[in-house]
């Protein structure tokens, strides 16, 4: 912990604010998983952590180590970039499988494909 006591106050204050804000946003996002009631609604909640949460916490980390080591620290940018680039993959997979399943089960609140064939349900047992 000797690290953190070396951090001067003028740097510690913005770092704390950023860290607290970032973790609060991520926490609210995780709470959303419980509070929102539909699957599609729950898809939105974790993106809070993936966007604002990641960015704020990474910026806090950049400031901390830049001040401690007295040079520019930039590789947290890569974390931000890769998190933003890869979240759509998981989200689309989850969203599409939910959509596919709801269409086959015939839940009425799911829009059907505009044109093109309906999913083939014969021989499927869900």
């Amino acid at each position: 912990m000797s690290h953190l006591t070396d951090l001067p106050t003028w740097a510690a204050i913005p770092v704390c604010i950023l860290l607290l804000l970032g973790s609060a946003i991520t926490l609210i996002g995780s709470m959303g998983l419980i509070r929102l009631k539909t699957f599609y609604g729950r898809l939105h909640a974790p993106t809070l952590g993936a966007s604002a949460g990641t960015i704020l916490i990474c910026v806090a980390s950049m400031i901390t180590f830049a001040v401690l080591q007295n040079r520019w620290i930039l590789h947290e940018i890569l974390i931000i970039v890769f998190v933003i680039l890869t979240t759509p993959v998981t989200l689309m997979l989850l969203g599409q499988s939910a959509l596919y399943r709801d269409r086959i089960e015939g839940k009425n609140d799911v829009p059907h494909k505009a044109t093109g064939e309906q999913p083939d349900t014969s021989g499927m047992d869900i």
Partner: protein
């Protein structure tokens, strides 16, 4: 020139990535990073991705600024929706949008933008009909959303990629 440097932007991005990971700007690392960037660009030729040329660099800056503003705004909006979810029923729904983008890279970027802004989730894109289905957490009216996405994101992406 095209033969030796099939994807100059990709090579440049890989070089930047290498320098960022190694946290150094020494000449040795720059040489090594450039060699890696060029070698991986050659490897990429075998994968035969869609070639796209970026056209309008000014529009890229405008789009990036817009996305940054929207990420902040929608984060705040979605936090509000989640915190109030107990008292007020969440009015979410699907929106279908006719998208005229066909370029794979432009669509990928649109997916990243829509996912990075909380409150909109990309669900399905039909390549034949060009209909994009998204789910919106706080839906006021569908037509306004489809209009917003077409104007704010699709138009600049079209200018950049097509």
């Amino acid at each position: 020139m095209r033969y030796w440097f099939p994807y100059p932007l990709l090579s440049l991005a890989l070089l930047m990535l290498w320098l960022l990971i190694n946290q150094s700007l020494s000449p040795g690392q720059i040489v090594l990073g450039s060699m890696l960037g060029i070698a991986f660009a050659w490897a990429m030729v075998n994968l035969q991705p869609d070639k796209t040329r970026l056209k309008n660099f000014g529009v890229i800056a405008v789009l990036a600024g817009r996305v940054a503003v929207d990420v902040v705004r929608s984060n705040i909006a979605v936090m509000g929706v989640i915190l109030r979810a107990g008292k007020r029923p969440v009015n979410s729904g699907f929106v279908a949008i006719d998208i005229s983008l066909r370029d794979e890279n432009a669509l990928a970027l649109l997916a990243c933008i829509l996912t990075a802004t909380p409150g909109t989730a990309w669900l399905e894109f039909d390549r034949q009909t060009g209909v994009l289905l998204i789910h919106v957490l706080d839906l006021e009216n569908g037509a306004a959303w489809s209009d917003l996405i077409k104007r704010r994101y699709e138009a600049p992406l079209k200018e950049i990629f097509e």
